[in-house]
């Protein structure tokens, strides 16, 4: 039981990290980035290719994060411009469809070029015992990174002027514009941040098992579930929802069966939309 819950928390932190990049972009302008999973994969493939050339793992990881951030910025500067000229539901719908198209383009190109591409970062070391449960070093590192990212993001949005500017746009775009904040610039920065987070997800996911080239839509789905349950646009909500769903996932996988867990997670998302559309911590 203790081991199952601990496993769930580790998984949940990974979920939270996965969801936070999507939730930030959605909160900022109502675009659900359906290409998010493919950006994660792109980061992973870049790391894989660079590592095959004999570059040190850490340097390769940095390059992967930068590449993912770069693609996200490219998306923002090209496809997202016409999207942000729309308002309300039109904007969300157009954003959804264009990022779906982008997902196919990125995913298709990657699977075409690297059909057997997979990233696995082997973190060596003896399992570490935590409250009597042995945990693999790789997943512990992934959790530590997720926690560090959560802390940095919360401090950034809570304390810095730029972070407050971002939150003001989330609350009221027109109002933010009136007090001299340029939403287009802030959005580009947040897209870059979201892409960098996708790159970090690629690293942490591949520490506990290989991340294959066709996992894009699965990652997007989980990010979407976390985003919906946590509350669109809430950093703390994404991590809270992630951990909650992670624990639910491990418990149901352990006591009921593997295939039912995805259905339970999907059910959680559907239920959240129906009962509390704002999500756990959304406004």
């Amino acid at each position: 039981m203790k081991a199952v819950v601990l496993d769930g928390i580790v998984l949940g932190l990974a979920f939270g990290l996965l969801g936070v990049g999507m939730t930030l972009v959605y909160g900022l302008g109502g675009v659900l980035n359906l290409a998010y999973g493919q950006i994660v994969i792109l980061g992973a493939i870049v790391v894989m290719v660079v590592m095959e050339d004999g570059v040190a793992t850490f340097l390769a990881a940095v390059l992967g994060v930068l590449a993912a951030a770069g693609v996200a910025v490219l998306l923002d500067l090209t496809l997202m411009r016409p999207v942000y000229r729309q308002h309300g539901e039109e904007r969300t719908l157009l954003g959804l469809l264009l990022t779906l198209g982008a997902a196919f383009v990125i995913g298709g190109l990657l699977t075409w070029r690297y059909p057997a591409g997979a990233l696995y970062i082997n973190v060596s070391g003896e399992p570490v015992s935590i409250i009597g449960v042995p945990m693999a070093v790789g997943s512990l590192w992934a959790s530590v990174i997720a926690l560090a990212v959560a802390a940095v993001l919360l401090l950034f949005f809570g304390l810095t002027t730029f972070g407050r500017g971002v939150r003001s746009i989330i609350q009221d775009e027109t109002g933010a514009r009136l007090v001299g904040i340029n939403p287009a610039f802030v959005r580009t920065v947040i897209f870059a941040l979201s892409g960098a987070l996708a790159g970090i997800v690629a690293i942490t996911q591949s520490m506990s098992g290989p991340l294959t080239v066709n996992a894009g839509f699965e990652l997007t789905t989980f990010a979407l579930i976390v985003t919906v349950v946590g509350g669109l646009g809430s950093v703390a909500g994404a991590f809270l929802a992630g951990v909650l769903l992670g624990v639910v996932n491990s418990l149901s996988a352990h006591y009921i069966g593997q295939y039912i867990t995805t259905i339970i997670l999907l059910g959680a998302a559907a239920l959240t939309i129906l009962i509390r559309p704002r999500g756990l911590l959304g406004r």
Partner: protein, 331 residues
Amino acid sequence: MRTTRTIGRALLPIAVTAAILAILPSVWFGDSPYTTSLAVQALVFAAYGVGFNLIFGSTNQLFLCVGALAGVGGYGAVILIDETSLPMAAGVVVGTAGAALVGGLLSWIAVRRSLGIIFTGIVTLVFSLAFANLLLGQRELTGAETGLVVTAAADRLGDDDVGGYYLFAGLLVAFLIVFRALQLSHVGWAFRALRDDEVAAELAGVDVARYRIYAATIGSAMIGLTGALLAYSAGFISPATYSFDRVDVRVLVLVAFGGLGTLLGPVIGAGVFAILDEQLSTSLELREVLYGVFVIAIFLFFRHGVVSAVVSLYDRLSRRRQKPALQPSGD
């Protein structure tokens, strides 16, 4: 007198489509099973498209579960026959009813909780993924990835047979007639009102909730019926037959290409993409890339469909040629 002429004119495009579909096999591909199966696939997608068009194009409900609804029809029909040995028609009826029920229920939930387009999209997407997982999980009933062989499959209606072709051509024409009939009735009037401005429609006395559920139920029944008939004509179904990335994405692209909410949009879209598929028999991945490019291009540049863009271009050109001497300003 006048009304019969209006109805005649309204049915003309359908009659032309039916005539073209009727002569196509004899003038083009009657003896090639491969081309016939491509044509049947195009007809199946056109039929899905009409159903989806009724739901999304007419009443703005983003149903990202076309594949799953077709799967409810297909798997429902096949499993029922396998377990009870009822006749095939009973399976098709039950499968269709099941899909209609599920679609109506999803719409009822969306309407009751007044979900916007996006949340409707997410809830139906969630349903799609949950359904796919259910198919994989219920191994004894569905055969999981290996799929199900339909033992009751009909002779001479196979999906590479001209019989199968005429089956789906007839189905498509029937769907088009239903679609047009709805457009001409008070239901179509309500659809247009609620699509243009939901609040105004509500204020004008249109029961938006009811018409949304109508559209979703009828559209889902069409999709479910197509899925059930596909199971019998193909003789084999697996989760891939009805998967999100094989069905939904394609339906969305071809309906958007042809023009959302238009009568013949899905037919034209399905035809164009069938030809495109035949020409681009390159790798599956590159085809995926191309689909992505198409989705982006369509929604960036042709929001009302490529067909309507061509029509309006033609209108503009022909109007310029025969410019009247006196023209009111504006417009």
